[in-house]
């Protein structure tokens, strides 16, 4: 078992710190307890695949426990429609087990490379949030290894306070060992996708508001560099799992066939400034919009093609160069559409080279105090760290979002302040109290927790 000091960052490759990294399986609880006992003074934190953009899975000067499990240890209960999965299993491995057997994960984000533990700790959401809620809303039970070495069984009914403090709790309540998640039955591994180009923001919001409920999945890809009357121009894609009779004959032979592939991997040696700049991105966004069909109904797409297009390019975060990038993800409640518009206007006016950004309409939230989703709009924009004027822009956007009653997503955050989190998450103190009851001495700690004074 390797124990060494390693410099870690999140997916955005910013703000590195060095920690003692220990890799373990969640199946060997005894070994994990030994690891906790050997934590240095600066404590420890669990890490999955490091796909959070900022610093939640880093712990400078402390320990980071990387959790790895095998998907074949997942147990599917076909009668109940659930799977009990070790927390170190990632969605990529899990889908390879589930899809051919006619099941799908309840929620998938834009990448398959997240672990079950990370999905719960960040309470991730997907394109079906308006119908199915976030990942944590689809967890029936989980087991949590606490700071004192004991294992606690949690469910929304047996220990709701600690269960919901762990959902969205960024790993700060303990190490999630396994979880039982509700599955979605599918008859094919394909999706039937409706695509339409939408010319401006007002039309987009109205279209999503009136029509989202007819689709399980809905998301809009916005061109964040479009300005003026084109502000908010986007490609709206909405989909449902396809049925066998919707498939073309060549796919209908083996309707549950599932073979996700990584086409290429970005080499480690991208030139210092990266290849993402104002010109390349403007051209890319323009092409993306132009190539999209004006309106197309019932197009059959694969799971990776619809849900995880970026996963086809390995290590795509390297494209941003050495300085890395940030993903700004905000939520504004329904009724604060003006704030959303102003955020988009400010982004476009700043000239920041932003790759396609994503707009999603959230449904109801869940009881977790630190869960990000709530009824409203969420916008996600990627920006290279080296963009001139980025600091001023982000400080301004932060105020806009918070004044509108919105918030920032901890799994993406790499720049906000303790004050911004306090304002965005009014139940923070309630979460702190639950956390303190199971970790009074502060064994669980991360760079994120230190930076944002979460505990």
């Amino acid at each position: 078992m390797a124990i060494e000091r390693v410099t870690l960052t999140g997916w955005g490759r910013t703000a590195p710190s060095a920690a003692t990294v220990i890799e373990r399986s969640t199946r060997d609880v005894g070994a994990l307890v030994d690891v906790i006992k050997s934590f240095p003074a600066r404590g420890g934190i669990a890490r999955g695949l490091g796909r959070s953009y900022g610093d939640p899975a880093q712990n400078g000067g402390g320990a980071v426990v990387v959790l790895r499990d095998h998907a074949h240890e997942a147990v599917i209960d076909h009668a109940a429609g659930t799977a009990t999965v070790p927390a170190g299993v990632n969605l990529d491995e899990l889908l390879r087990v589930l899809v051919p057997r006619g099941w799908f994960v309840p929620v998938t984000p834009g990448t398959r490379f997240v672990t079950i533990g990370g999905a719960i700790a960040s309470d991730i959401h997907g394109k079906n949030h308006h119908l199915d809620g976030s990942f944590g809303s689809n967890v029936e039970r989980l087991s949590l290894l606490l700071a004192d070495g004991t294992v606690r069984e949690l469910s929304p009914t047996s220990d709701p306070a600690l269960f919901w403090a762990t959902v969205g709790g960024m790993g700060l309540t303990g190490i999630i060992l396994d979880a039982t998640i509700r599955l979605l039955p599918i008859t094919t591994s394909r999706l039937s996708v409706d695509t339409e180009r939408v010319g401006d923001l007002d039309t987009l919001l109205a279209t999503m508001e009136s029509g989202d409920r007819y689709f399980r999945y809905s998301v809009a890809w916005i061109d964040p560099m479009a300005r003026g009357k084109h502000l908010g121009r986007s490609v709206l894609t909405r989909a449902d799992h396809a049925t066998v009779d919707e498939l073309p004959p060549k796919h209908a032979v083996d309707p549950l066939a599932y073979h996700p592939r990584q086409r290429i991997t970005v080499p480690p040696l991208v030139p210092g400034p990266g290849v993402i700049n104002h010109t390349t991105i403007k051209v890319f966004n323009e092409l993306w919009y132009r190539k999209a069909p004006r309106r197309r109904v019932g197009h059959i797409e694969s799971i990776p093609g619809f849900f995880h297009p970026l996963d086809m390019v390995g290590a795509w975060n390297r494209l941003y160069g050495r300085a890395g990038f940030l993903q700004y993800q905000l939520l504004v409640p329904f009724g604060a559409e003006d704030a959303l518009r102003e955020v988009l206007e400010r982004f476009a006016a700043s000239g920041a080279p932003s790759f396609l950004s994503v707009l999603k309409r959230f449904g109801a939230g869940n009881p977790a105090p630190l869960s990000f989703p709530a009824p409203g709009w969420t916008l996600t924009v990627d920006v290279p760290t080296a963009t001139p004027g980025l600091r001023e822009l982000f400080h301004l956007l932060d105020d806009l979002v918070l004044d509108a009653g919105g918030r920032h997503y901890l799994a993406k955050d790499a720049h906000t302040t303790p004050e911004a989190i306090r304002r965005g998450y009014p139940r923070l103190d309630e979460w702190r109290a639950v956390r303190e009851s199971v970790d009074p001495t502060g064994v669980w700690v991360s760079d994120l927790a230190r930076r944002l004074q979460l505990c």
Partner: protein, 251 residues
């Protein structure tokens, strides 16, 4: 912790009255900044008003570069009081006329004590703290004067050569620890320290040095020359034969 935008939360300035040091600190302030500590021999003489803003604590604390034995406790005390030290700017130093030092070897040795020995002992104490934290950035104000020492201020130049070598080596030693060192090599800077002295070619200002330093810090660079042209100039100077170098009219 620094955030992804390179905005530190806790900033320490060793040499709290240094014009360049204060200009760097000012540029590092953001809504994320929580604490600025100004450290120096005479904390009561340090102005804090110009750095103060809502949500930011500005403190002054006594620090004596020549009291080497106190440095480790000083750094631990800082961390105990303020948490992780994100950026520390090492800006203290003394500059005396060479003509005054020629007949005063004791004073010359005192200058070495502050500029080199003081920086080495506090630098090592900071490095240990950075290793404990797993992150942290040290900015060391060196000078082109140490790149090739000239007769007009050779004791001062020698102290900067020593400091520069130490800082570079420390940066290399910290590779992989999560911490880093940025060596800043300005040319002649118009400041309190140089008031009344004749400016050298490519003279610059504390503001320009601070701008270049903060930019280099955010780019993760290890060395920055201000202005940048001095890197080329001193590359040539380093390789000039002694008789030529001695005759150059560099003041």
């Amino acid at each position: 912790m620094d955030n992804a935008l390179g905005e530190p939360q806790t900033i320490v300035l060793l040499g709290g009255t240094s014009d360049i040091g204060r200009a760097i600190v000012e540029r590092l302030l953001s809504p994320s900044a929580r604490t600025v500590v100004l450290a120096g021999r005479r904390p009561d003489e340090m102005r804090t008003a110009e750095l103060e803003r809502p949500g930011l604590t500005v403190e002054t604390v006594a620090f004596d570069a020549t009291d080497h034995a106190s440095h480790e406790a000083f750094v631990r005390e800082l961390a105990a009081r303020h948490g992780d030290l994100d950026v520390v700017v090492l800006a203290f130093g003394v500059l005396a006329e060479q003509s005054e030092l020629d007949d005063d070897p004791v004073r010359a040795a005192e200058m070495v004590d502050v500029n080199v020995a003081g920086a080495v002992s506090v630098g090592l104490a900071l490095a240990a703290q950075f290793r404990r934290q797993g992150h942290g950035r040290l900015v060391v104000l060196s000078s082109v004067a140490g790149e090739r020492v000239r007769k007009a201020n050779f004791v001062y130049g020698a102290t900067k050569a020593g400091l520069d070598g130490f800082a570079q080596g420390l940066g290399d030693a910290l590779a992989g620890s999560g911490a880093s060192v940025l060596v800043v090599r300005p040319g002649f800077v118009h400041s309190k320290m140089t008031a009344g002295k004749k400016a050298a070619p490519f003279a610059t200002t504390p503001a320009a040095v601070a701008d270049a330093t903060v930019k280099a810090l955010r780019q993760g660079r290890r060395t920055v020359w201000v202005p940048g042209i001095l890197r080329v100039v001193f590359c040539v100077f380093r390789h000039l034969p002694g008789p030529v170098w001695r005759r150059l009219p560099l003041g």
